[in-house]
């Protein structure tokens, strides 16, 4: 029996009470490509981070070449020959390629003499090995995405990596560049390097992986040898259970069309979006990270206006060039990452609630503190925001309550259309179902809701229809009754290899 290069056994990890990994075991042999697949949030990134020492596991052990590593940290991982390449290359943009590579490889005292010629020679040697002709004296910022990716791989090889972890390495690559990368992977495999390959692209995975492990909700669901599982089987395993609670029977689902998009496209990545959203309807927007969902929200809210196509609001063509325009037209946007963009932590709840609609709490430009206070009180009661007072700083609230404040701000403008981007991200289970109830209640009052979410369960739970995005385009819109996790995932994952 061969000893695996890397073995993780019974890894368990939880963040803030949320179980990210549950007794996950995984091993990687030399000269093998072992793919990990799973939904967003299935635990893939956490597993990688544990293997590279970026995050510590709560329990479980990691063994490298049969020897248990008691304390995995990034320096140890590097010394043991574990290297990782992430979706977004992490080169130092202002340093040259050679310097970037040298930083990963060289060590010594801070005042050692730098031998530039050797540095450059070593760099071009490594780049040649990965089939890249990039001049090592170029600055990293001048390289294209795939060139940067190759430099990352060169770094890993130079460090004599025995385990190479690649997280969505082809996400930013074109077809031909992908083939080059596969060539490099094949030659690394021949040299005995073990490769952990993470990707959403099932075709890719099926073509290069020797083994495939499926993760779902932090657990290993299955591991297959090459060719053992069909694409359909894999999708079914990624999706998992299909029974989810739902709010199927709701009044007011067939209002007039409030928002219509006709051929919306942008250089930023939206491709010919057609969509009609009715008053009182909840449209779930599914898709992988990077599929253009947030881009669509930004186009509708005037943050990144589309270059062509029409937006019609209640049948009238409108131009949305800035958030002010959007708000004036009755469009609200609860962004992803509320701590950074959704609310102002240093301000009291009341000021956060009134921020997008100061007219409502002022007369002749003069703020009326009591009106503002009452408005905030009203929403505090309606949304059951748990706080000692509406004058408390928002930073003192829990995540779920902060998200409710972000929602309250937009309810205060009486929106026609409300765009929600990952409305329950990082929110605990109780607050989550409260927020779901709120969204449904809003819809039953006639607000048209566009809800972006990476959680299929959430999408199933409250959407009336589900739009699936893929590479900037809407791949399909399914009524909830017809949607299954399988057909949504199959639309979201489908490859379009040229």
């Amino acid at each position: 029996m061969t000893i695996p290069h890397l073995a993780a056994r019974f890894i368990t990890k939880s963040f803030a009470g949320v179980q990210a990994l549950r007794k996950v075991s995984f091993d990687l042999n030399g000269g093998e490509v072992h793919a990990i697949i799973g939904e967003n949030g299935a635990g893939k990134s956490t597993l990688i981070k544990i293997m590279t020492g970026a995050v510590k596991a709560d329990s479980g052990e990691i063994a490298v070449s049969g020897r248990i590593v008691p304390e995995m940290d990034p320096a140890t991982a590097r010394a043991l020959g574990i290297a990782a390449i992430y979706q977004q290359p992490s080169l130092f943009p202002d340093l040259t390629v050679a310097e970037n590579i040298a930083l990963a490889l060289e060590s010594g005292h801070p005042f050692r003499r730098v031998r530039w010629r050797e540095r450059n020679q070593q760099a071009s040697e490594l780049l040649r090995r990965v089939g890249s002709g990039t001049d090592p004296r170029r600055r990293a910022s001048s390289l294209s995405m795939p060139e940067q990716q190759m430099v990352e791989i060169a770094k890993a090889i130079g460090a004599n990596a025995r385990v190479l972890i690649m997280d969505e390495p082809t996400a930013s690559l074109m077809h031909r560049e992908t083939e080059t990368l596969f060539g490099v992977i094949a030659s690394l495999r021949r040299e005995g390097v073990g490769i952990i390959y993470i990707s959403h692209r099932l075709e890719e995975v099926s073509s290069i992986a020797d083994r495939i492990t499926v993760l779902r909700d932090g657990e290993t669901v299955a591991t297959f040898q090459r060719g053992e599982a069909s694409r359909q089987q894999l999708i079914a395993l990624i999706a998992g259970r299909t029974d989810v609670e739902s709010f199927a029977n709701r009044e007011n689902r067939d209002g007039e069309v409030v928002l219509e998009l006709r051929g919306l496209s942008s250089r930023g990545g939206l491709r010919d979006i057609h969509l009609a959203l009715k008053a009182g309807e909840i449209l779930g927007v599914a898709g992988l990270v990077g599929s253009g969902r947030t881009r669509l929200a930004k186009a509708l809210f005037g943050l990144a206006p589309a270059d062509s196509g029409d937006i019609l609001l209640r049948g009238r063509s409108v131009c949305i060039g800035s958030p002010e325009d959007a708000i004036r037209l009755g469009i609200g946007y609860v962004p992803e990452d509320r701590r950074q963009h959704g609310i102002i932590l240093e301000m009291p709840i009341s000021a956060n609630v009134s921020l997008a609609n100061m007219k409502r709490v002022s007369r002749h430009g003069l703020l009326r503190a009591s009106v503002e206070h009452h408005l905030a009180e009203e929403y505090r009661e309606r949304l059951r925001i748990k706080a000692s007072s509406v004058e408390a700083d928002t930073s003192t609230l829990s995540g779920g309550n902060q998200q409710k404040v972000a929602l309250a701000r937009w309810l205060a403008i009486d929106p026609l259309v409300l765009i929600l981007d990952e409305p329950t991200q990082g929110v605990d289970v109780g607050a989550k179902s409260e927020i779901h109830n709120l969204i449904v209640e809003l819809a039953s009052r006639g607000v048209a809701i566009l809800m972006i979410s990476s959680e299929l369960e959430e999408i199933f739970a409250i959407s009336d229809r589900i739009a699936v995005m893929h590479r900037g385009a809407i791949r399909g819109i399914l009524p909830r009754e017809q949607a299954t996790q399988e057909n949504i995932l199959s639309l979201a994952l489908e490859d379009r290899l040229a």
Binding site: E324, Y333, H341, G342, E346, G365, T396
Partner: protein, 323 residues
């Protein structure tokens, strides 16, 4: 949950405590400090700093900084003098100085808000360029022979301090109220706290930034005019180092240099503390050479308090995030 109950101490508190302590010492050791004449001189010397600091507070609250105010102050002073010498009445000359100030502030505003040049760089450039442009155009000559009607703003010398005090008090009150009770004031705080969040709430953060620089320019112009009437000549090198006194006062008053937090009351306290300390040394029999050192120590203390506080908050926040 309980944490919401105890609100944090006001950031103006350290400056207020220091003023009270200093007053206490002076009252015991050198009661002469509180003679009307001394207080009046103290006020007249610091009124320009106070008025410029009002505008600077707004700029700093939006998360920016203006280090060109000393140079702008000189240009506005000279402008007021030139206008006065053409025979225009003092209030019109003062208005002219304000307009010049608004123009200079607007220039900074365009550079920072619309061309996205970091404010420290844009206003550093403005500081140098404006100062040298003035030196070049006046060839270093003082504006002299100012008309008598310009002197003391047309008031008697004894009446002028009352007038100046009234103007300063009204301005302080107006700005303090505006920051608290106008939507525009809220926008300033929102922009300085988190400009991306503010933008997503539909606030035109560029306009807010631009307007705060322009407003600061107006205050600089007015301060320059009120200062110029006290002398019968205007040296073009007036206002050198003013920007540092102003920023120091704002910071000592508890306003976060990163924006979003701070009050006008704090700035008033900051100006009082830094302005009072120098003459106090004389009264206490300490060498005046210590003045700068002590002012420096006060600024350092204020910034240290701020740094410790934000450090603690950040820790709390990361803990909250992990929890």
């Amino acid at each position: 949950m309980r944490r919401e109950m105890h609100r944090e101490l006001p950031k103006e508190l350290p400056a207020a405590v220091a003023i009270v302590a200093l007053s206490g010492i002076l009252a015991l050791v050198a009661p002469g400090y509180f003679a009307a004449g001394n207080l009046r001189d103290l006020f007249l010397a610091n009124a320009p700093i106070l008025i410029v600091a009002l505008g600077a507070t707004v700029v700093i609250l939006t998360g920016q900084i203006d280090i060109s105010s000393g140079s702008a102050f000189a240009i506005c002073s000279v402008a007021a003098g030139i206008l006065a010498k053409t025979g225009l009445p003092a209030p019109v000359a003062a208005l002219g100085a304000c307009v010049v100030g608004i123009g200079l502030g607007a220039l900074n505003g365009v550079l920072v808000a619309y061309l996205r040049i970091p404010s420290i760089i844009a206003t550093l450039a403005a500081m140098v360029v404006l100062r040298d442009a003035l030196r070049w155009s006046t060839e270093g000559a003082w504006i002299q022979d100012l008309p008598a009607a310009f002197q003391w703003f047309g008031f008697k010398q004894s009446g002028y301090p009352v007038f100046a005090f009234a103007v300063a008090a009204i301005l302080v009150l107006a700005v303090a109220m505006a920051m608290r009770h106008l939507a525009a004031g809220r926008w300033v705080y929102a922009t300085g706290s988190n400009s991306e969040s503010a933008r997503l709430a539909g606030i035109d953060t560029s306009l807010v930034t631009f307007a705060s620089f322009a407003a600061a320019g107006a205050f600089t112009g007015l301060a320059a005019a009120l200062n110029a009437v006290r002398f019968n000549q205007i040296p073009p090198n007036t206002g050198v180092g003013l920007e540092l006194q102003v920023i120091a006062a704002v910071v000592v008053g508890g306003t976060a240099i990163t924006g979003g937090r701070g009050t006008i009351v704090g700035t008033v306290l900051g100006v009082i503390l830094l302005g009072a300390i120098g003459p106090a040394l004389t009264f206490l029999g300490v060498s005046v050479y210590w003045e700068r050192a002590i002012q420096g120590a006060i600024i350092l203390a204020a910034v240290a308090v701020e740094a410790v506080r934000t450090g603690l908050e950040r820790n709390e926040r990361t803990l909250a995030n992990q929890a």
